[in-house]
């Protein structure tokens, strides 16, 4: 079986490659990349003129909600949403019910993700950092690692006790597991529901101070520095947090960080008249924060872009703002929002865009992903991106069960139009059939 991705702009940050050419996949593996490839004996051809040919994209921050919260999302719908969003690798967070704190649950996730009716992409589970994700005692991380976790995290229930976090980092350092940290001081954030600022004061909503995030960014960086453990700051949102990461990187601390599209796309004013689709943690911030985030994306302080896909059932969101849950669905908007807000505006080059959405998160988590190198991934993973297509995001047309998106009705420029993970796992209706050929012999 020979498949050719023919004549597009090949962007592979793992090889610093930005050329026009074709990618040949044979028997599920990339075998050749270049301006001219041998086109004899092809079974299928994707004509890629005007498109980017990139390594399959990687989203290292996804809530698949299964087990236990299937009203919000399932592994099936979540992986389908991921494929539709252009992702061939996602990491699922451990704050499920029960939390992912034992190896049987990791087996369950991996089995479900590999089943034929799922999205056909790779799921890398993230284990709970502490037993029951309660922030008290460190989970059985070596068993979890043997079962297949790629990192450990306190996402959804940030560890308040610094001693527990220090111990966890020591264990993770020994096991070579990155720790994905949710930076929030819950004493400072208790009872709050949006950024502490003008809009919150006007609406009479309690504001989450930036200190709630920054104090924990600082603490976790200090602990990483002291223990040597690799940590990754989940969704940094304040300019102060970004500057701390910059300083700690400068000091040699093993720290990486991510930003979510909604944090550079919207400010807290977008909450408008109490729209719960704009409620997330950390909250949407201000123009000043966005300015620093954009700089940090350019200079590499912010390593990657992740969706923090947090789907909820509609009835959970149709409540007064202060009672609504924190979080936004994001798998199917992340790439388009990034292309629209960053690439199209010249903030990031196409190659850097792909690095932040694929190669860099794969490096952080040591995944066999984020590359088009022959043999670099278990099966060939390719995403085709149309950087120019204009379209309007409509939550009613998404695969995710979570319709809680701030991007509903937003006009995007650019979209992942085809996702290939060993075989085709998603083809956008806009990706016309004329582009797909089965040569006759």
């Amino acid at each position: 079986m020979k498949t050719l991705f023919k004549g597009g702009r090949i962007l592979d940050p793992s090889q610093e490659l930005d050329i026009f050419g074709s990618v040949m996949v044979e028997d599920g593996q990339v075998v050749e990349i270049g301006p001219e490839v041998d086109e004899r004996g092809l079974d299928e051809i994707y004509s890629c003129n005007g498109l980017w040919i990139t390594p399959g994209l990687v989203d290292m921050h996804v809530h698949l909600r299964e087990p236990g919260q299937e009203k919000r999302e399932t592994i099936k719908t979540g992986t389908q949403a991921a494929a539709a969003g252009g992702f061939t690798n996602i990491c699922c967070m451990p704050n499920t019910t029960p939390p992912l704190d034992n190896s049987a649950l990791i087996d369950f996730i991996l089995d479900k993700a590999a089943s034929p009716d799922a999205g056909g992409i790779f799921v890398s589970p993230v284990g709970a950092l502490t037993h029951k994700n309660q922030g008290q005692t460190v989970a059985d991380l070596s068993s979890l690692k043997r079962a297949g976790i790629v990192a450990a995290s306190d996402d959804g229930n940030p560890t308040q006790n610094s001693l527990v976090m220090a111990r966890a980092m020591e264990f993770c350092h020994q096991l070579d597991l990155p720790v994905l940290v949710h930076c929030e001081d819950t004493a400072l954030s208790a009872g709050t529901s949006m950024n502490d600022g003008a809009t919150a004061a006007m609406l009479g909503l309690k504001g989450m101070p930036r200190s709630a995030e920054e104090i924990m960014v600082m603490r976790n960086c200090v602990l990483a520095m002291n223990t040597g453990c690799d940590i990754h700051i989940l969704r940094v949102s304040t300019w102060g947090g970004v500057e701390m990461v910059r300083q700690f990187k400068h000091l040699g601390a093993p720290v990486t960080c991510e930003v979510c599209p909604h944090h550079f796309f919207f400010t807290d004013e977008a909450v408008g008249e109490f729209d719960p689709n704009f409620k997330t943690t950390p909250p949407l911030r201000t123009e000043v924060d966005i300015d620093i985030i954009l700089q940090a994306l350019q200079d590499g302080t912010i390593d990657c872009i992740a969706s923090d896909h947090s789907p909820y059932a509609p009835f959970e969101v149709e409540v007064p703002f202060d009672q609504a849950p924190f979080g936004m669905a994001g798998l199917e908007s992340a790439v388009a929002a990034t292309l629209t807000a960053l690439t199209d505006k010249g903030i990031l080059s196409p190659l850097e865009t792909v690095r932040k959405l694929s190669t860099r998160p794969a490096e952080i988590l040591r995944l066999d992903a984020g590359t088009l190198k022959p043999g670099g991934t278990p099966v060939a993973q390719v995403t085709l991106i149309d950087p120019h297509v204009e379209w309007t995001y409509d939550v009613q047309r998404t695969f995710s069960k979570g319709k809680n998106s701030p991007f509903h009705g937003i006009n995007f420029q650019g979209k992942a139009v085809l996702t290939y993970c060993g075989n085709e796992v998603y083809r956008d209706p806009r990706f016309s059939n004329e582009r797909f050929e089965t040569p006759s012999f």
Partner: protein, 309 residues
């Protein structure tokens, strides 16, 4: 079938605010003359009080009585809400009970907006969380107009726990929209730190904030402020911010003193100022009825309002 809503002073036009105060004045004269002011068309209005408030509910009931409207009461406890029904479903149910308008009080900011979205007809906000209490501000405006003869060009001092006060927010928007100078006075933990966008200046010192004020509005101090550490003690607050026979002297000599109630006598206000001739506190209570009548009449002034067929 969207009618008019009274959700927040912040989103009401200056002209509408002026109109509501004017209607209230007319209705007050009509009620004082005739004993009531029935409208030709009868209406059924739901009073949804998810938060206890006897005084505001009584005020709305009186307003409805004077207009010849019928009210249906629905309170948070003992209702479907305690059985786990969502606010959305409660509102949809009441819509299909053919209520023509809703008055809602709720502990969540924005609950009235949500109610309006699902009800699809006229909704009056009777206090939502820390957000707004528009009819209180309208009643206060009528009171100021009566006592000061004008609703513009005045210096208004709002003293106390502004951050946790929907009354303060509504009054600040209303009085600044009508061209008055609004000042918030209170300790650093209870006044907005981002006050630039709220139409008021912030003063941490009582005397300088009160200087030359024509209207002094006291806010009720909640006990929770001590529990959550925003104040060290009632005594500290009283020493620094009580409006009393001594501190009121910083204000203009003809200044009036207001309070949305219920009063904590001896805490935010002393007996002398609460009961003295400068007090407008009981006028506020009475005028609250007439502005609520005005609101209940005004929301139906639209051809599009209709109940379900």
């Amino acid at each position: 079938m969207n009618g008019k809503n009274v959700l927040a002073i912040r989103t009401l036009d200056k002209g509408v605010i002026q109109q509501l105060v004017d209607i209230a004045g007319d209705l007050k004269r009509e009620v004082l003359t005739n004993g009531w002011a029935p409208r030709a068309r009868r209406r059924t209005i739901g009073l949804l009080f998810f938060e206890n408030s006897t005084r505001t509910r009584v005020s709305f009931e009186q307003a409805a009585n004077y207009l010849g409207y019928t009210t249906v009461n629905f309170s948070g406890s003992g209702s479907s809400l305690s059985k786990g029904e969502t606010l959305k479903d409660t509102i949809l149910t009441l819509k299909h009970e053919r209520l023509e308008a809703l008055v809602i009080r709720h502990s969540s900011s924005g609950a009235a907006n949500l109610a309006a979205e699902y009800f699809g007809g006229p909704v009056i906000n009777a206090g939502d969380g820390l957000h707004e209490h528009p009819t209180q501000a309208l009643g206060d405006a009528l009171t100021i107009l009566e006592r000061k003869g004008t609703l513009t060009g005045l210096k208004i001092a709002i003293v106390g726990d502004v951050n946790h006060s929907r009354v303060a927010r509504s009054n600040a928007w209303l009085l600044s929209k009508l061209g008055n100078e609004v000042r918030f006075i209170g300790p650093r933990t209870l006044v907005p730190t981002h006050s630039s966008f709220l139409p008021a200046s912030t003063h941490l010192d009582l005397r300088s904030g009160l200087a030359g004020a024509d209207v002094v509005m006291c806010l009720r101090l909640q006990r929770e402020r001590m529990e959550d550490g925003m104040l060290s003690s009632v005594g500290e607050y009283t020493r620094l911010y009580q409006v009393n026979r001594t501190t009121i002297r910083a204000a203009a000599s003809e200044a009036i003193v207001m309070h949305p109630g219920p009063l904590n006598r001896g805490v935010e206000i002393d007996d002398f100022t609460a009961d003295g001739p400068q007090s407008a506190i009981l006028d506020q209570v009475t005028n609250g009825i007439f502005v609520r009548m005005a609101a209940m009449q005004w929301i139906f002034e639209s051809d599009q309002v209709e109940v379900l067929a």
